[in-house]
Symmetry: C2
Subunit: 230 residues, 2 copies
Amino acid sequence: MSEQNYCYKYPHPSVTADCVIFGFDGVSIKVLLIERGVEPFKGKWAFPGGFMNMDETAEECARRELEEETGLRDASVEQFYTFSDVRRDPRERVITVAHYALVKLSEVKGGDDAASARWFAMDEVPSLAFDHDRILRMALNRLKERICFEPIGFELLPEVFTMTELQNLYEAILEVTFDRRNFYNKMLKLGILMETEPRPDGAARRTPTKYRFNAEKYAELKQKGFRLEF
Amino acid sequence: MSEQNYCYKYPHPSVTADCVIFGFDGVSIKVLLIERGVEPFKGKWAFPGGFMNMDETAEECARRELEEETGLRDASVEQFYTFSDVRRDPRERVITVAHYALVKLSEVKGGDDAASARWFAMDEVPSLAFDHDRILRMALNRLKERICFEPIGFELLPEVFTMTELQNLYEAILEVTFDRRNFYNKMLKLGILMETEPRPDGAARRTPTKYRFNAEKYAELKQKGFRLEF
DNA sequence: ACAAAAGTGTTAGGCCTACACCCATGA
DNA sequence: TCATGGGTGTAGGCCTAACACTTTTGT
């Protein structure tokens, strides 16, 4: 039954890719976890992940996991660290190439495993399987670093969003609060936001201004090197 | 002879750790390369690296490589990316966890392989074996990012150094030039430099002020979160 | 004598921060 | 009418960037 057909002169570790999937619901950052149905860590929550095939890169493997859980193929996925502690998996030597994905919650459909998958706000995340607590901490740190250089916020928001939502997102990721006017000024001065036409419903109730991300302007900015000061 | 004793149900990639070793000679950034003596890429230059043992982490493996080539045990080593392209090694599937190390050139003794190892300035680096060109590019980018947040410069300089050397280092890594006075002011204001006593040789020839890195002050700064603006 | 490198201050402009009130809406 | 959230401008301080000359030393 369990034939062992792949033989090597020296021992090889198993290699997996894990995918920390972040979403944003307008108020707080969420992460998608899966409840483990088997030992080890049965009943504990963990990130989607799985063994890397021989004909795919780590990132492709992470994207595969992402698609299985969310149905999304084109989200932003980035590798951030490889965890190789000798005993991180109690069964055998497994090293994992950890990625994070940023997804728009509105576009996510439950995947195959929907039954055992759930979104958790950061302050609700339980103690996780394997070394996934550490992986989450590092993923969040990377997110904090990166949001100051790249407009990753827009990967997490719907196409059209309000300034307040954008501010909530930055505050949630960086765990700080900003003065509203200063945040407006800074973002608008950057020039990577476009106002969307407020549809002129005659008696429409007063709605906040909606914005859209201006990818062209951003490309220009990036050329020159830019940094968001927070 | 080549018995294949380690068997698995599914194929496993080989895992290596590579170590991009950076040094600084007072003027330019150097990287330590090793000339390959065997195929593939025989005669081409590559970073030190090797297969990960089953009882060591990727970082430990990278440190082992570092020590073999330089004799150094306590240098700063940091993992920065895992390269997993399917065909990056023509022989078999190999993924590599890439690290960079920052060393003080003055402390480096030639390692076992001294004959085939050589320091190259960045603008002399030849085309490299495997995907090591790409690895080098990414290592340099990480270095650029990191030098704005952490005083990694001090890992590359001798214990005692002049302001000009420090400036040359920043200029070499960031590939820019700074106004000397502004650089002085910024660095001194940060407060992480200590002047060393100029030894009062009576008629010593005029020497530039020497500085030393003040680790305590840096620890305080880091607490509060700091950033170097360049 | 000349070239090369160290050392040193000031000014103007831009950016960040702190801060308060009005309006529209929905309850 | 009251509570909530959106929208808006200014003034002060700090940091950044630009800029030139003198001194010392070695050649």
